[in-house]
Subunit: 150 residues, 6 copies
């Protein structure tokens, strides 16, 4: 059976930290679906279709990495797309407490859907989408933190 | 003297984790007042009066558990209702840091009002109102996490 | 029914932080038993009988505070002495993670024995028996941190 | 070379905890610039010019403490004003995780701009601008937590 | 290529929390090697060969779970046995900080050896070998926490 | 007045993470004293005089960095050597909780002795003396983690 993992997130924007997790994830899983969850009430800084295109650009030529967007519960989307695992990165203890809750609910409500964690590589662990948005907002150069050109 | 504890929160919604703390709290205190703090600027997912009714339903027949709502400072409300203690649950370290600050201010400003903590039982520790709202929002089944029928 | 809480620890030495928790605990419980758990394999810095005497000195005249030592499982000792609660202080997140495990085991194995937590007052939260031993070891003055004269 | 540190923040409001860090900072640096970062999208509770005035009032007579506001990236502002260091207080582990990320980005993007941390004194560590705003909002007395009269 | 993961530990003793991680790990990996690392200087509570036998008993009949012991660097042992991954459980933030360091060193020194993390199920998250040893030491019943009969 | 900071530790061994803090510290202070605290009861992995020599080797030619050893309370040593500040690195939240306590005691007992913190650079944050000793003990190559040749 093919091992398919979903790497869900808002990716506003997708960072080198996210890329790190995806690339390392491909050593564990046969296929990774990167999917941007969105809901119409939450305003994004980077347009979702633009971001989907940018992420696709990063992994062009890699057949085992798929990029998508969705607007339902992550677990439902995973199930509908044959993903048996969620893949998530952990940067620090704040991430840990948050991801712990999410993972347990996903497992509990959705038939044992398993979340697999990698710890973000040190050189990317301080990068967050929030900080990138802030720097970008003020016209700062964020190119060091994203694996594509804006 | 009767030991009365206030269990304050936004309870949007009240969860089985909250119920766990209240029931264990009744082994320590003579009476527990569950009170939903609200302010008009913060939009709720579940209507406050509906939630008050649902919580009452959970504890119907228990005379030592009172359910209410309030719109003033927690410490003031506690004082006005004869509660000498605040009761709070701790799920994880993020909760701890947050509750620590609140407890110190309540004690410092309001004449030694004491906050008593119980650690949430493991099986409920990953449940948060935030996650329940999210799951509910997308039409997921949250009945496992709440001690009443929506 | 009398509410009796056990405040267990190695108290090597008993600090003003411990005293803070005990005094605040007497506002919640009818009686508090302070008991030094010891095992012969673990070498103490301060002699256990000396420390029992010193703690007794702190609370002399208070009938609702009892000081003792024990050499069995905390939960067994609590049960044998009619204590329905354990009382513990939390200083920081490291304490929280540790106490969380202990509390769950005590509850799980010993018929629901409940641990009640207070957060140590800020001015005492940085005091630990370990640091006091270290300072004392090198001849430093630790009198500010202990509620008795050595 | 004069050692100038920038102490940036939203200071909504400036607290005794902030004052503690600034005063201790003057023992390390020759000059400290306290600067309120703001952006027009984020609504403040306390007016920015009122707060600048109040902070100036706190440190009147101290030539080595300057109070200002800015609306650009913190690192750019620091550079433009000759500040070679950022000064920040740490209250707890949640602060630590957040400040860690910010500090690394500031260092990484802006030519090694160094962030120097002091741990907030225990008696102020539970004070946060958020809690003060909440208490103030409900008409509670916050004068104990701020080093000036509102 | 077969995906083989090493689940290393001192397992003094092996707990239901460890079992939880191994069983969930078999949904991700083709084979799991459970290996007890030991060094002669560190005294164990439970004899290593006894523990190896007990763990084997737990997983008897499962061909994809191998039980072993080793006395070299974990990464060297992994390499020598064809394990491309380390599997580790995370219970809380204290675990996280510790495992983070170990994982980075293993990756950094040993050619990208990847550590994959699962978060321990809530009902087992409070169980630690340390607490079990302590309870067992005093004659308490630990059978609820271990997946075999002592 | 010359700003002298003491960088105390057991440095068993001194790592690139320590070097990182010292070098960044020289941008803040005029002089840094690196001093190995030792007590005869605690067995070291690396001989103290050997380590003093190795650290000296790292900073040879830098007049503003002094290397020493001491066997008294850190604060007393600082005072005796004219150091008005302690310099410490923070790698993670576990460090934070520990350093917080130590810093408060040093400040409280020793006339306001101030501890200044830098957050360890990401690429060194996972390095600990404990892990290096462990790797070294088993014959692993630790040269990547120390700024000198063993």
């Amino acid at each position: 059976m093919k091992r398919i993992a979903l790497f869900p997130g808002s990716f506003d924007p997708f960072t080198k930290g996210h890329e790190d997790i995806v690339l390392r994830g491909t050593q564990i899983f046969d296929e990774i679906i990167i999917a941007i969850g969105y809901n119409s009430q939450k305003k994004r800084h980077f347009d979702i279709d633009y971001m989907v295109a940018k992420i696709k650009e990063c992994f062009s030529g890699k057949d085992n990495i798929i990029v998508d967007k969705y607007t339902e519960l992550t677990a439902i989307y995973a199930n509908r797309n044959g993903a048996n695992y969620l893949l998530r990165g952990l940067r620090n203890t704040t991430d840990f407490e948050y991801e712990n809750s999410i993972a347990m609910v996903n497992k509990d409500l959705y038939n044992g859907l398993e979340t697999v964690f990698l710890i973000t590589s040190p050189k990317f662990a301080f990068i967050s989408s929030t900080i990138i948005r802030e720097v970008h907002n003020y016209g700062g150069d964020v190119s060091k933190y994203i694996p594509y050109t804006l």
